[in-house]
Amino acid sequence: MKLYEYMGKELFARYGIPVPRGKVVFSPAEALAAAREIGGPVVIKSQILMGKRGKGGGIRFAGTPEEAREAAAELLGMELHGYKVEALLVEERLSIDQELYVSLTIDGSAKAPVLIASAEGGMDIEEVPEERIIKEYIDLDIGLQPFVAREVARRLGLKEGPAKDLYRLLPAMYRLFREKDAELVEINPLVVSGERLVAADAKINIDDYALYRQKDLPYVDDRTPLERKAKEIGVSFVELSGDIAIMANGAGMSMGTLDTIAYYGGTPANFLDCGGGTGLEETAKALELLLETKPKVIFINIFGGITRCDDVAGALVKVKRSIDIPVPVVVRLVGTNEDIGRRILEEEGIKAYTFMDEAAAKAVELAKGA
């Protein structure tokens, strides 16, 4: 779950990470009031869950509260990288001496948290060559100790004032990262402003699997209506633009199914991984979800492990009996309780394929003929 910049900065402030004085606003009038309260020149930042807002015109500067109101009026409601701007962050305009980059994330290969830093922060961080990127793997047993911050400050070449800020900032950032189950805490840029450091941006991703124990965080949902429904059912779902609706179990199998459909010249309408132990009720709901993509063919590819073939078959029959399925359904079914599943489908007159290539070829053929 991604947090909006203003939420991230609220978290930062709670952990003692310095942020610019600022306020989230939802109307031009509020922007005016906020700019007045802050005093002096301000920056107005569109709150969307994507980067590169500057390049898209989503960030404005204002010298007076009146200008802030006008900028807010222009930004609110604007479409930016596919997101509608509904909130703005009005902040003091910082004097910037240097833009640094720091982030904490998880390196799956190293099986450790990794701190990444660079003296060359800002919009082009991904272009900074490897040797000017500082990477520190954090030992989980002792956490991010002050000595790591000192080492990073040294390598960043910070002067005493900003260095001392960094000694406090990095351990605080790590505490947030660990306590809030963050997959990512990113500050880009981390601004050197005179003798101090200020987090000019905040990008925080919270682990979806840990939301059950992060009840005090705001809930941010940037899914499409169909993806939201998928989330409720508990399946992994991405909308695509093709005409063959796909349901498979397991991420690898779902990818393999997409690959196979593509191989035979078909185009998938979606990616739907119904996962491990999804039961009859959920499978039925997943099928209904597929219909909403308005496909020409539905292709169900199940290789049962935790998923039981009889559940899938039962669900298909249940859906078929309760609603009209207006398109052909191609089923490939093998694995746990395969025999029972097959029998259930046969009783309903549905053919179950054994081989994936055969089934995929059939699905593509039907979609082309439709």
Partner: protein, 290 residues
């Protein structure tokens, strides 16, 4: 022979009294796995499918020799259960559970490193040494003794490929599921050397996915292997995954793409299948039986 587990592996099931635990205990017993106990706090003294249940892992280990544990434990409690198994001295821990918070996974793998424990998973189907021992959830019928080792990041795709192998008359020595999670235990580079050293294994199938750099690391090792490797990488036509800010891009630095992985594997001398059902043909070719 086989790798990691065989007919002498003594296994316990943590979470044996839950639905999944019960169901798969029955399946594993049916496959011939030597399950010596189950663990379920407060249920000590009961039996499940004839298997004695203990309150704690240590109690199970006091009463039995235990070589491996398999976890059917809800995600929020999985870290603690994995710690319990490792602290009790069990050296192979198979975590089936899906949806474990990534910070818990970090802690599990970190503790495993300290304790010298091999972790398979989380979010894995488990491990099967065909005809000898199945620890995990794959359907029994797709694993027949043979000379092909399989190591895979994804579950169902592995059943698919294992099933295809059998249909083409090829069985497996051992099939290892690495799990699909962000901080996995054993990886390709941990498992490939075991296959390389296993006299029973003649060739290895590697089932990878886009994302991460595990396949690239595997390619480095494959260069040194004497046995042929056939790889399939899923996700050529997959939708783009969730982006981890700039940090993700900085870590991956161009690794993780389908093209990059295929290139690395081919350069390492592996055979790369474009689709799952090409694997048997490439294997036969690799083994000179084509």
């Amino acid at each position: 022979m086989a790798i990691l587990v065989d007919e002498n592996t003594h296994v316990i099931v943590q979470g044996i009294t839950g639905n999944q635990g019960r169901f798969h205990t029955r399946q594993m017993l049916a496959y011939g796995t030597k399950i010596v106990g189950g663990v379920s706090p407060g249920k000590g003294g009961q039996t499940v499918e004839g298997v004695p249940v203990y309150d704690t892992v240590r109690a199970a280990c006091e009463a039995n020799r235990v070589d491996a544990s398999v976890l059917f434990i809800p995600a929020p409690f999985c870290k603690d259960a994995a710690f319990e198994a490792m602290e009790a001295g069990i050296k192979l821990v198979v975590i089936i559970t899906e949806g474990i918070p990534v910070h818990d996974e970090l802690e599990i793998q970190n503790y495993a490193r300290k304790k010298g424990v091999k972790v398979i998973g989380p979010n894995t189907f488990g491990i099967v040494s065909s005809g000898k021992c199945k620890i995990g959830i794959p359907p029994n019928q797709f694993f027949k003794p043979g000379e092909i080792g399989i190591v895979a990041r994804s579950g169902t795709l592995t059943y698919e490929i294992a099933g295809n192998l059998i249909a083409h008359g090829m069985g497996q020595s051992t099939v290892v599921g690495l799990g699909g999670d962000r901080v996995p235990g054993m990886t390709f580079t941990d498992v490939l050397p075991l296959f390389e050293a296993d006299p029973e294994t003649k060739a290895v199938v590697l089932v990878g996915e886009i994302g991460g750099d595990a396949e690239e690391a595997a390619a480095e090792y494959i260069k040194t292997m004497s046995k042929p490797v056939v790889a399939y990488i899923a996700g050529k036509s997959a939708p783009p995954g969730k982006r981890m800010g700039h940090a993700g891009a900085i870590i991956e630095r161009g690794k993780g793409t389908y093209e990059g992985k295929v290139k690395a594997l081919k350069e390492a001398g592996a055979y790369v299948a474009a689709l799952p059902f090409e694997v048997p043909r490439l294997l036969k070719q690799a083994l000179g039986q084509a």
